[in-house]
């Protein structure tokens, strides 16, 4: 469970988030939407402790994130799988090594790591591309490698910031279907997107932000 309690984030005179109250249940899948600058990315950055709120508290499974000491932050971040809009793969290594990165950080044995990487690549349908350089893949395939990297360490939470921003509708719905599949095995999924036409077809809660405030939180 993720709870935002009256969370504000101010940048100078600008309120990126204002008194935001929001609860994401354990095992839920939710979309966060709104215009650019509405506070979607700020919300995700605060959750990952890449930034700290100006006021208010964020709790993850009851734990106050403000109480997490800086040397504990890396361990905290490992509970999240993160998918970026521009996938942010590393082109100096193979698809396999890209996906294995979280496992290297978490300290898995090479054998177990290889097994999990193949399982994750299989799930996103790219097992055959394991040893190629990700630069040779299409945009949709690169994003799927990014998703494999996000889920390979089996995180509690899957966070995605505009994961379909650069993809056509067909590929976008494939990506969303992948997120739903992970949600069905118990992962809490939080997706920031402005692709309303796509998410309105899916039966998940849509949280709309407007100028840093909660505009609506529709439950289907």
């Amino acid at each position: 469970m993720i709870e935002f309690e009256r969370v504000s984030r101010r940048f100078g005179d600008l309120d990126a988030l204002r008194h935001l109250n929001l609860t994401i249940d354990q095992g839920e899948m939710a979309f966060i939407t709104g215009h650019s600058g509405a506070g979607k990315s700020t919300l995700l950055r605060l959750l990952l402790l890449l930034d700290r709120p100006s006021s208010g508290e964020i709790r993850v499974k009851g734990e106050l994130t403000s109480a997490i000491r800086s040397h504990r932050v890396p361990r905290y971040r490992r509970r999240f799988g993160v998918v970026f809009q521009d996938h942010r793969l590393l082109f100096d290594r193979s698809v396999h090594d890209n996906v294995a990165l979280p496992l290297v950080i978490a300290g898995f044995s090479p054998r177990e790591s290889a097994r999990r990487v193949r399982a994750a690549l299989d799930k996103v349908g790219l097992l055959a591309q394991e040893s190629v350089n990700p630069a040779t893949l299409s945009g949709g395939e690169q994003q799927r490698v990014g998703i494999a990297r996000a889920v390979v360490a089996r995180p509690e939470f899957l966070i995605a910031d505009e994961p379909t921003g650069n993809l056509d509708p067909q590929l976008s719905s494939e990506i969303m279907a992948l997120f739903e599949a992970f949600n069905q095995v118990g992962v809490t999924v939080l997706v920031a997107t402005h692709d309303l036409s796509l998410i309105s077809q899916l039966r998940h809660r849509i949280v709309t932000l407007s100028s840093g405030r909660l505009a609506s939180a529709e439950t289907p």
Partner: protein, 317 residues
């Protein structure tokens, strides 16, 4: 399947993880260096020259050091006695000072001996023979036990001068003090030059490492978001710095060895010409080991500082 919190049985112990991550970082950094052989070679050369030059100078000073006391020890004092003093009183002075602890040996040169030596040396023997009286006094040649630069020598001269029947003590120690001072100045010059060269190596390394870190900016940002600790992010760069430093140190040691091999022949011949039993003292094992260690320390520390600086810039962005 494990619980989503993920504490799998296949996870290694902490120390095994630590070792494995070090091994991966070490191999990875090494491969990256070999991938750009020219750039890596140039960094090694810069570090090597910066380390080899001051250590070669230091070795030169170390070689000069043992020769100087030899020269200094040959510094004799000439104790001129009163012209009126006869041989018996000269012998009395000799007996008196012979067992002073600061004195190694005393030899009496009688005025007759001195005159004939002077005559032989100058070729003026016939002219001197025509003198109605010997203008030279009895002289004591004193070989002090002290090193020439020591202020104790001046003290000894003072003591000798205060003895009865002694008019003057002549000691040409000035050129020796000059040599000594030159050597001290030389050592400081070597230290200053060495410091400047090592600073140059540090700056060159810092710049190279900054570029190496900046080239992996994307990786650093991704690793930070997906939970890599600062130590994990820093590790490959520490190895890069270590390789630069150790490689430079090894190359510097080879340069120093080559230089001393090249110089051994002529320098030993020079020693022989000056009747010095000395031999060119090579770098031995101490210099190479010190160079490699120094390179390693510099490389590690500079990469640490460069990484910290870079990450701090990243955080405040």
């Amino acid at each position: 399947m494990n619980s989503p919190t993920g504490q799998p049985a296949e996870r290694w112990t902490r120390s095994a993880v630590w070792r494995a991550q070090h091994r991966i970082a070490a191999n990875d950094s090494w491969r990256k260096l070999l991938h750009r052989p020219v750039a890596t070679g140039l960094v090694w050369l810069v570090v090597a020259i910066s380390l080899a030059l001051p250590s070669a100078l230091l070795l030169t000073v170390a070689n000069l050091r043992p020769i100087v006391p030899d020269l200094a020890r040959s510094a004799q004092l000439s104790v001129m006695l009163d012209r009126e003093a006869d041989r018996a009183s000269a012998e009395a002075v000799q007996d008196q000072i012979e067992n002073w602890s600061q004195i190694d040996a005393v030899r009496l040169v009688s005025r007759e001996q001195a005159l004939s030596e002077f005559g032989e040396q100058t070729g003026l023997a016939t002219l001197l023979a025509s003198l109605d009286r010997n203008p030279l006094p009895h002289t004591l040649r004193v070989l002090p036990r002290l090193p020439a630069h020591d202020s104790a020598l001046n003290h000894l001269i003072g003591e000798l001068e205060s003895l009865p029947n002694v008019t003057r003590v002549v000691a040409d120690t000035r050129w020796m003090s000059r040599l000594e001072e030159t050597l001290v100045a030389g050592e400081r010059w070597v230290l200053a030059l060495g410091g400047a060269m090592i600073l140059g190596a540090i700056l060159a390394l810092a710049n190279t490492l900054h570029l190496a870190i900046d080239a992996r900016r994307e990786e650093i940002l991704v690793v930070r978001v997906i939970g890599g600790s600062p130590a994990f992010v820093r590790r490959p760069f520490l190895y890069t710095g270590l390789y630069f430093g150790v490689g430079g140190g090894v190359l510097a040691a080879l340069m120093l060895w080559a230089l001393s091999l090249w110089l051994t022949g002529p320098v030993n011949a020079l020693f022989l010409l000056y009747d010095s039993p000395g031999q060119l003292q090579g770098p031995g094992l101490v210099y190479p080991l010190a160079l490699i260690l120094l390179g390693a320390i510099i490389g590690w520390l500079v990469s640490w500082a460069a990484a910290e600086h870079y990450f701090r810039q990243l955080e405040t962005r």
